[in-house]
Symmetry: C2
Subunit: 388 residues, 2 copies
Amino acid sequence: MAQAVRHDAMRARNLALVLGEVSARGSVTRAALAEITGLAKTTVSKLVGDLIEAGLVIETGVVRVGERGRPGMEVRVSGRRVAAIGLEINVDYLAARVVDLSRSVRIRRTQPVDNRMTSPGDVIAILQDLALSVVDEAVDSGLRVVGGVLAVPGTVDLATGTVHSAPNLGWRDVPLLSPLRTPFPLRVDNEANLAALGELWFGAGHPDFLHVSGEIGVGAGLIVRGELFRGFHGFAGELGHVVVSPGGPPCRCGGHGCLETYAGQDVLLAAANAELGAGIAGLLAELDAGNRDALAACERAGWALGVALSSAVNLVDPGTIVLGGIYAPLFPWIGGVVTETLAARLGQMREVVPSVEVSRLGTEAATLGAAGQVIQQVIADPAALLNA
Amino acid sequence: MAQAVRHDAMRARNLALVLGEVSARGSVTRAALAEITGLAKTTVSKLVGDLIEAGLVIETGVVRVGERGRPGMEVRVSGRRVAAIGLEINVDYLAARVVDLSRSVRIRRTQPVDNRMTSPGDVIAILQDLALSVVDEAVDSGLRVVGGVLAVPGTVDLATGTVHSAPNLGWRDVPLLSPLRTPFPLRVDNEANLAALGELWFGAGHPDFLHVSGEIGVGAGLIVRGELFRGFHGFAGELGHVVVSPGGPPCRCGGHGCLETYAGQDVLLAAANAELGAGIAGLLAELDAGNRDALAACERAGWALGVALSSAVNLVDPGTIVLGGIYAPLFPWIGGVVTETLAARLGQMREVVPSVEVSRLGTEAATLGAAGQVIQQVIADPAALLNA
């Protein structure tokens, strides 16, 4: 019995070792895997066989002359069977993304809902319908959704999946996991944290950056050497409540003059005299047309973002800054003033002011990071899936 | 030859293993060390013998009945021979502390020098005299100073020991290591970082806190699970340049309304209409006497500190906040308003607002952290010292 347990633990470790190498290297032969891992060739072949059977890896059909011995089939992570779902409750929409194990986005669904005017119970019901319909669509493509993460714009108790405070939703202490019935295991995490992880896994791919998530609320996620910095209670990265001016406009968090009161989506649209309903698309049209109010609103938001980011750079010294969410499409109008404000406030203290880059993912980053967390977990422990 | 190299490497590792356990446990028998480390008793005895001979550990003379076998002498880290020196260039003083390997402070020396009115070359000359005289005193006590770290109030290139920018000294790109001639290896590091490490090793001893270092400049050091968070370029923790109000007073860093312009020592003394020359001692006397200007100045500095710390808590989410440097003696007059300001700005976002504590070390923290770094290094690699 004890021997069987030891054997299972060793097999689990070796499966993770092999799948990890396949994932990191893109495609690789069994012979190369044996050389890299130090495992016997027969062991590798057995493990690869199990991974193929579970749909986690696939033979590419590409034959390459091996470094030693005869040519071998290469294997790579399979995108055909196992998938993860990223869900998001934001202030004015719900979203779902299905990503397969090879990190291709397979299904994108965004549903506008004014979640401020909707009770948490109703939001959860709509989200559940969205999740179930997306999972059905995934099943129709031959995919098996093995897990999901839900992104919410607020502070989250990771252990219980309860939203402690989401001021822009008006939510306090709302449990999300128990009322949600999903056919896959689900966790809840903060939207800005997940967006930073999404940028890490699906975007520019630096291992060191501060990702800014501009939505109706503003958040940030700090990635240090490829890891998310969460802070002591898990509430780090609340850039939206960094002080721009302590006597500034009242914020939903109870403070005054927080970044969100200058650069959040609704504030920005109101300052631009743009229709809230037309959203960022409407604002972009006004900016393209040279509307002065719209340009001035972006200038002001960019300045405030630069002020808050100068405090962030002074405190956490990130490698680079990546502007995501609504700041990605708005980058041509705010990137310059953010950079100038940072340079003016930081230039004498440090040789290099961190560069300000645009996210390639925009508002999709959080759902991709959410699905990406599940994929990371499968790669790290494939045995859990094989034994399930 | 290769076997000799392997033997040396193994001996170095085992010396570190044994000394590390002795240091962590306070005092311990050879038999217990063998049990803890898994090394043979004869190996442990040989290693302990070498460590005793090098003056790194000492027999306590306390005989205790061992868990197994006959009673044994306990050993502990020796404070009698090996010592480290912490040096500090601050804006209005130079300081040196000699700390022995058992972490007792053996020599304290602080010398008032107005380093703003003194050229870097002259400051370095005065510091070198101070260091040499302190080392002589240490030698007279039978101590051998094996290394030192120099704390400076600015951004430091750790690899070269060059101060990139110390705005309160008016220094830019000042190399410190090459001109300083010391009879021990020396490194240079940021004052606020070292103060946080000093608090970790000699103070309250939490493994998770943000330590605020109040001097003429204001800095901070974030300790996460017992490790200093340095940031990507090593410039994290510049709390003094976090924005309190972006249109506020001009700061020496080139920005406006940084925390330092509200809560730095000189600003605080000026706001209190106190004599700059009398320093914090003079201000404390005024506060004790109930001087209204002095009380109002502390109220304002505490408010600004609370505003900047609310941004810091939102960004890095520390376990607790420890107020050090001049804020330690001023704690009775600023601690309350800092806590109130934090609670007002943070209370709705998070269940628990980090507690605000007073440092037990005050302005001594940086030199203790500096010496402590050398001690950590000796404990981590005693073989380097034995072979030197």
